[in-house]
Symmetry: D3
Subunit: 239 residues, 6 copies
Amino acid sequence: MRPSGRQTDQLRAVTLTKDFTKHAEGSVLIEFGDTKVICNATVEEKVPPFLKGQSQGWITAEYGMLPRSTDSRMRREANAGKQGGRTVEIQRLIGRSLRAGVDMKKLGERTIVVDCDVIQADGGTRTASITGGFAALALAVERLIAKGVLTESPILHHVGSVSVGIYQGTPVLDLDYAEDSNAETDMNLVMAEDGRFIEVQGTAEAEPYSLEEMNAMIALGQKGIQELIGLQKNMLAGA
Amino acid sequence: MRPSGRQTDQLRAVTLTKDFTKHAEGSVLIEFGDTKVICNATVEEKVPPFLKGQSQGWITAEYGMLPRSTDSRMRREANAGKQGGRTVEIQRLIGRSLRAGVDMKKLGERTIVVDCDVIQADGGTRTASITGGFAALALAVERLIAKGVLTESPILHHVGSVSVGIYQGTPVLDLDYAEDSNAETDMNLVMAEDGRFIEVQGTAEAEPYSLEEMNAMIALGQKGIQELIGLQKNMLAGA
Amino acid sequence: MRPSGRQTDQLRAVTLTKDFTKHAEGSVLIEFGDTKVICNATVEEKVPPFLKGQSQGWITAEYGMLPRSTDSRMRREANAGKQGGRTVEIQRLIGRSLRAGVDMKKLGERTIVVDCDVIQADGGTRTASITGGFAALALAVERLIAKGVLTESPILHHVGSVSVGIYQGTPVLDLDYAEDSNAETDMNLVMAEDGRFIEVQGTAEAEPYSLEEMNAMIALGQKGIQELIGLQKNMLAGA
Amino acid sequence: MRPSGRQTDQLRAVTLTKDFTKHAEGSVLIEFGDTKVICNATVEEKVPPFLKGQSQGWITAEYGMLPRSTDSRMRREANAGKQGGRTVEIQRLIGRSLRAGVDMKKLGERTIVVDCDVIQADGGTRTASITGGFAALALAVERLIAKGVLTESPILHHVGSVSVGIYQGTPVLDLDYAEDSNAETDMNLVMAEDGRFIEVQGTAEAEPYSLEEMNAMIALGQKGIQELIGLQKNMLAGA
Amino acid sequence: MRPSGRQTDQLRAVTLTKDFTKHAEGSVLIEFGDTKVICNATVEEKVPPFLKGQSQGWITAEYGMLPRSTDSRMRREANAGKQGGRTVEIQRLIGRSLRAGVDMKKLGERTIVVDCDVIQADGGTRTASITGGFAALALAVERLIAKGVLTESPILHHVGSVSVGIYQGTPVLDLDYAEDSNAETDMNLVMAEDGRFIEVQGTAEAEPYSLEEMNAMIALGQKGIQELIGLQKNMLAGA
Amino acid sequence: MRPSGRQTDQLRAVTLTKDFTKHAEGSVLIEFGDTKVICNATVEEKVPPFLKGQSQGWITAEYGMLPRSTDSRMRREANAGKQGGRTVEIQRLIGRSLRAGVDMKKLGERTIVVDCDVIQADGGTRTASITGGFAALALAVERLIAKGVLTESPILHHVGSVSVGIYQGTPVLDLDYAEDSNAETDMNLVMAEDGRFIEVQGTAEAEPYSLEEMNAMIALGQKGIQELIGLQKNMLAGA
């Protein structure tokens, strides 16, 4: 039934490549099938003005797409002179999601900036960015510990994210572009490793959806996020 | 328990004032307690470029806050030279929510722009904007019908919105600022009049939240939105 | 002769509503007939960089119009990415006019920002903004005195403003939109309560105008501003 | 009494150099003492969108200052990314003033853009721009007639401009920077050659000013503008 | 002598990966040692306004760096609201260089946009962008021919580019970051496959350089560019 | 053969007018035939943030063109809201070139900003800006010495610049607009007074050019720059 032939509860092939680029404190290439996002975590020894002197850190994210990451070329935002509304919305979501997994007090007065740059898009770029971004963040934290900058991990729990939706009347996990562009409902879930919710963003694209449909989508999402957090942990463990 | 003394499932005093300003095709002042938003619907006999020649209409929304609608003055966005990320995120949410209640084919090749301007803020400005904005939109549609421009209503069902959250461990309906700024979880719900979902946006501000908490919040939201849609209908009925 | 049936020297119905919104230190809704402007004065305990350390204060103003305050919708300036030339010109005029009524040394090292937001326009929004803005400023000053922050009023004299013009060959007071859009000459006057001039801005829209016409307009303006300053004082006196 | 030793009703040495640059249809360097402004009029065979198809022309102006035209260097506006409020205000004034001297119907469907660029500033740059800008405009019109593009002059009457003010209690004509920066009142006058008013912009810098003072300033301005219009005519006559 | 141990006339390991991303008409990842640039060529069936109706095509380029492609994080240009001066300078150079290898008449009324995005920087990103960008362009042209859109190749000759410089008094080929940041002179060469010049941009970073030094650098560049054009041809030949 | 009738190695009439405007520390009007550029050097007693506390100075340049310095009017960059790519490229070139002639340590912790504003363009504005800008810079330095701010000149050697090119197959010196717009190759040279290179920027406009052609152009440039540096020295010597 699905264009890709996947089961309704089946993720695409997901890989996380550690140390994809050499300069960042944490660098991960995450691939969900044909969706590919470079996630680079940068540690900066300062905090934004509104946090100065409060003995706590901050995590923020930025998101971008290469102009030809998509089927038809998008205008380069740097050239257009501003980030579009969709970009702004996504990078705020990524930032909130990543912060939910970290104890800001234990991070200390420093900022981790996570850049998520989509080099090829095939649906689900924001959830891939959160999942890959958290892995990059965790790598950067590992190195702060290895260097003795931090003595204790500020990570409270892993954070993963996946999209779910209703496609041709059926709840499915991890929509690719062919599904996403025709789905009746699209929901992005961000969860902690214990299955509790960090963000739920569900949008009826055509018809409103029922509580039963929402619950079915949530169940799929919980399953998928468990698998994704497993992959994050494998990557960190050095596989 | 609530700072306002309200019951956990009790809305603030909500009023919708019809024809609040004189130029707009549909103008409503909506008040949720001390939160006051002017919602003006404008009908334009054209559609955005991406819809030209497709025999369908469009609905879009813009959102703004007066600089001193808040406790401390915010910088005027027109002066800053751009709309902030929060503004962009909110106006995209309002637009999607309003479109979900209208049949674009029946609207014909015209655009309705709904401007939501907050003149006083005390929590819940985005959900008030959706609820008041839909009322303004419905007023504008009524007049298109009265003038014979439309022969049939393009409205599929009413759309209402309210916030719910977890405050001091308890699920509550319609958070005011005192609650919102301390809530563990904040969820904005947009629903159709039959209780189905149009948008769910839940964010864990402190701890992740459980499925049980989410379900409790959703039940509160369904009750509140039923009441709000009743108020929209009363206003249109001319009370 | 006038579209509204008013006498040539007659103001529209003018009302000033005290404490229109709850957050600002001084908040006034001013109405000149169908022209309605929210004037909010904010006190900030700092001065612009060019005044630092000079033991004096500053007063500045910003002006905006809701997109649908006018007959056809104007583009939102925050969305356009800049304030238009007319907006800039008006807010500079408001700022200069308000400063002319206040002793900056007695104000001390603080800034009062006066936001004038037009929610409904029917001509004369800039003069209504000055008149209402001065009332909001005076309210904020009253509260600084009541709180003991100031021991002496920095207000030198009240400041009021009105438009005058030549309409169908006749000098008239307080042009509404129907007159303004057809006037041969349009003049904005700002005066102190003793009848002296703070700003005169006269523009020939069609023919140049003579000294006799200018003097007739000035006489009308002096009468109107006397009445407006009376209304400001009534509002402050608590009517 | 005046820093320059001039009489109260005496202009600075004023010169208009015809054809100062070679590309513009009308090019004039105007000097008021040490204030020097290049005024270039460009004829474009099109009108702004709001005038299309109305068988009439348009005149607009732009104003700029070289960064080091002033005593301390100003930031280059092109680099700052926007024109400042003062610039916007001035170029709108120049545009309105020039339009007041021309019959837009007789100009035909074309636009004359007048660029006024200050290369050295010593007070009175906006009034010099109007006076020099009108001369450049008149030159461009002469050439449209000479080329047979126009058969009749669209010029209704010459337009000149000068500043007047109250300096140390005395009304004076044509303030230079030393006076302008210390004047109690500063008024910019734009007049037609018959002495009637096109624009009056008077601002109390310190004390409000009286009607008597205003009338004295106006009388000085009328005298000065007569002289300036004489100089415009001499330049056009080919002196 | 060189930090990398290379000979003075030795390129870094250079690889060109064909079809690196899936959406672009021509996609190449070029690596010069640790410098990695994604070059994507997009074919658009339109030309810029200044070329409309002239029966010829256009080639343009855009350049960007991921924020953490460098050792310390750079601000994201989309977020800063404009492209920096260095970016603008580089993308103009890339565009001119690519155009020099193509017959615009034979290309027909279409545009090829080449996006060069640096994912990891270690010196020489602009010359890598030109060399990789030309390869991506050639791939896109091949496909236009394969699809029958073009019947004849518009490519006049291959274009390659490399940097040369004076490092510790010695002319060297293909500077990496360790050399580039300490070089006395830095020269970017763009050449056709017959060894003639398309662009020469030489900059003395410390001392001015002599004609002898320039000639030595040019000889190194000619050798390097021959090798690079060989690699482009191998990639196209399908190796 | 040349449109102007000049010899292939002949400069246009070049003049440098000292103290062209009165406010700048160094002000020069440079004319290359009909190309006229005002070059103003401003001394500021501060350095950019990246140089603070390093006991050295900085030199930077800005470049602009009056809108009607050209045959058809260009849009004013301040109005467009940003500097175009060509402007950015040119002002970076001017800045680098001027810095190459000055010892930043000897300049001390101050910045010299050189503004180059083209009032009339006829080809070669960037090379005229460098040549005139260096003269203005040298004037400003002379005055710093005269005032005792500097005890020793920080100037290492004079810097001059000229364009050369291939016009109708022949290498020529100092292209005017008629040549520049039809040249096969255009090269801008910046040299020190000893004939060594500071910048070489050669661009093939049509065909790539050979090493022989480049060497012929360089020889012409060396001759021209020698003459230009002679004129700079004459101007400083007070002729």
